[in-house]
Each structure stands twice: as structure tokens, then as C-alpha cells.
Subunit: 223 residues, 2 copies
């Protein structure tokens, strides 16, 4: 069986989980506390980071970016996550970088990192300046999502792509804290409602961290 | 003509410059001070980051990762930067992530960022703790490079790949400061000597920042 080492609420692991589900590839999840630096896990990935995918034939693929490219190359007959020609694919990859880089630094790290990860990993006190910055920044990114989907069907163009998955993976972790001001950003909300309706997204929306319940509307496409 | 917006000593821009040269694709360089946030540049890349590639047909590709994947897809008849099948390509991409992520955080940012970029961009005083960390960390990474090339011809396998380009792009910026302890790491030095001998690497080794000359051995493959 295909095995994915992951951490709950890691947007990078969520991106891979949704990508696998979109492609209809069955897999098992194994939670990996990377802070423990288990020797067995270090042999799989010397960088000691999740996600790591172990294929049924024993092939090991490390890192969310390499895993998604691997899935596209190894299973070309399944749902494409990078549609179109080289220029269209470059646009999808630009937006994946936007969410995994810029959004992650400006929003996810400031909100999920400060409010939740520090508490779960006992890494000290939340930085309230960072939290305020994250709350301001998320609005700019929601505006950008709205700007894109008023011009295109999905974020990177006419077809659903890895750009949508990356954006939704990050937003879904911030939304777990109830920190996405959906009501003020209708176009982004309408896009996210379409994402939530996809079967491939159900599993990540069903995640529950013990002691930290998500908002009631969390998994509801009609929110 | 193909145009690359870049910054001198950005390892990400160097990776793209070498990738273009390896593929034999002619291009012009345009230095872009992203701190100025020029409106014309923001229209090309709303993230306001280099590198940005503008193709002769007007196609715009943003970001080092998307540019390298674009070049592989758009010019398949040129030198391959990601050789082999999906698993071998995943290994090359894992190492690209290693150098662009882990090495960049642990070494490049601590040395080039603190010692040179802060001075050039007038962003305050170098953090000596960070510099000491960078000087210790570079040794660990040189050991890892040595470990790899004692088992493989190039970093990711038998064929030269984007993993070698990414690693050498970072090391070449640190080496510009004379901060790579080559003498204590012979296998890594032998690998870097092979890199320096490649024609595609000559242009980046010829960069000279006004007022900050590189070490005398900088461009010499026999160092």
C-alpha cells in the first residue's frame, strides 16, 4: 500500500493528500512527529521533513513539490493537476509558489504557526504582532484570489489545478482557527465553496485535532 | 530576445542563468532592484521577486522553480536538467529543494545575507551569531555533498542535473565571500572543480560586485 508520512494541519501535507485523492490514488496516512527525529524516518528523508511518500514498489519521494511533480509524471492517465502547455503550467506553478512561499510566510506561519503550532509543540508564547500581521495579510490574499477568479474559472486558468489545491490547503488550515474573514470576500468564498464540494477535499476537512475543534461551518460547502 | 530579470549573487537567479546556459538558450540579463517595486516589473510578477523570464514570444515565467520546469518542458531537445524516469527526477527535485530550502536557510542566508546583502541593501548590522551558525552549517552540507559524490557520479545520480546546478549556485555565492572551507572537504571540492570546468558556469563566476572583489581563486577550476 502507498504510505504518506504527514502532520495534521501542515498545508504542504494537505496539498499532497488532496493531490492523491484528486488522482484517485489510494494511500494510508502515518502521522510523523518530525521533532522526534526517528532514525527510521531519517533514513527515508535525511532532511527530516514531511510529507514523504513511499510507493508500493518501495520508491521514496520527499517533499510536497517533488511528490506532486512525481504524481503527474508517474500517473499521466489520472486527473491532471498541471493542465495545458508549458506556459499554462508555469502559471499554475507560479501560483503554487505564491501560496507555498508568500502566503505561507505572510499568513499561515503568522496565524497557524503562532496560535496553534507553538501551543501543540510547546514552543513558547504566541507573538501578538505576528498574529495581527497575519490577520491583515490574509485580506490581501483573499482579494488576490477574488481578482483571479473574476477573470478565470479556477486560479491558474480554465482548468482546476495544483494552484487551487495549494491555495485551499493553506486557507483550510487558517480556516480551522476561524481566522478567514469570508464574509468580506465573496468571490474568494464562492471559489472556496466549489473547492469544499470536491470529493477529494473531504478527508482534510474531516481532520480533528484533539482539544482544538474547528468552527461548526468548517466542512460545510454552504458556509 | 529572451530576457532574464535577476539580481547579482541571488542563488536562485544563478540557478536559472546556468540552466539557460546548459541548454544553450541565449538570453540578456537585466538587473532588477526589487526593493524599488517598479510598476512595470510588478505587472510582470505581482510577487515582486526575481528571477523573471520573458520569452521572445512575450510569455512571462516567474520564479526559479517554475522557470526551470518550463525550460525542461518547452525545450525538450536541449540538454536535460532532470534526467531519468519519475523516481530519478524526484531524487533530483529532492536535492534542489534541499539546497534552495535547507542550505539557503542554514548557510546562504546566514553568510551571504548577513555579510553582504545587509550591507548592499543597507539593512542594518550583520548578526554575528547567524554568521557563526552559517560557518558551522556549511561544513555539514559539504560533508553531505561528499557523501553523495562518493556514491554517485553527480549529486542526484549518474547524470548531471538541476541538483548540481542548485547546489553550485548556492555554494558559488558563499564562495564569493571566501567562506567555503574547501581544503577540509576534498570530495566536495573535486565535485565543485568539475562544475567550474563547465562552460555554462563561466558567466556567473565572472560576476564582480563593485567594491566587493571575490577571492583570487574564485573562477579557477584548479583551486
Amino acid at each position: 500500500m502507498r504510505l504518506l508520512y504527514h502532520l495534521f494541519l501542515s498545508p504542504f501535507c494537505r496539498k499532497v493528500r488532496v493531490a492523491l485523492a484528486e488522482k484517485g490514488l489510494a494511500f494510508e496516512l502515518k502521522n510523523e512527529n518530525t521533532a522526534e527525529r526517528r532514525e527510521e524516518f531519517l533514513r527515508l528523508n535525511p532532511a527530516c521533513e514531511v510529507p514523504v511518500l513511499v510507493e508500493p514498489d518501495g520508491a521514496v519521494v520527499c517533499g510536497a513539490g517533488p511528490i506532486c511533480e512525481f504524481l503527474e509524471e508517474a500517473f499521466p492517465e489520472t486527473q491532471r493537476l498541471l493542465p495545458g502547455g508549458p506556459a499554462e503550467r508555469a502559471e499554475a506553478r507560479r501560483l503554487v509558489d505564491w501560496f507555498d512561499g508568500k502566503f505561507n510566510r505572510e499568513v499561515t506561519a503568522n496565524l497557524v504557526g503562532e496560535k496553534l503550532m507553538k501551543r501543540l509543540l510547546r514552543q513558547g508564547v504566541p507573538d501578538t504582532t505576528a498574529i495581527r500581521a497575519g490577520q491583515a495579510n490574509v485580506r490581501v490574499h483573499l482579494d488576490y484570489i477574488g481578482w483571479l477568479v473574476e477573470r478565470r474559472n479556477w486560479l491558474a486558468g480554465e482548468a482546476f489545478s495544483l494552484a487551487d489545491i495549494a491555495a485551499a490547503a493553506h486557507l483550510s488550515t487558517v480556516d480551522y482557527l476561524g481566522d478567514v474573514p469570508w464574509d468580506d470576500h465573496r468571490p474568494a468564498r464562492d471559489w472556496y465553496a466549489r473547492i469544499k464540494s470536491r470529493r477529494a477535499f473531504r478527508a482534510v476537512l474531516a481532520d480533528h485535532i484533539p482539544g482544538v475543534p474547528p468552527p461548526k461551518y468548517y466542512a460545510d460547502p454552504d458556509f
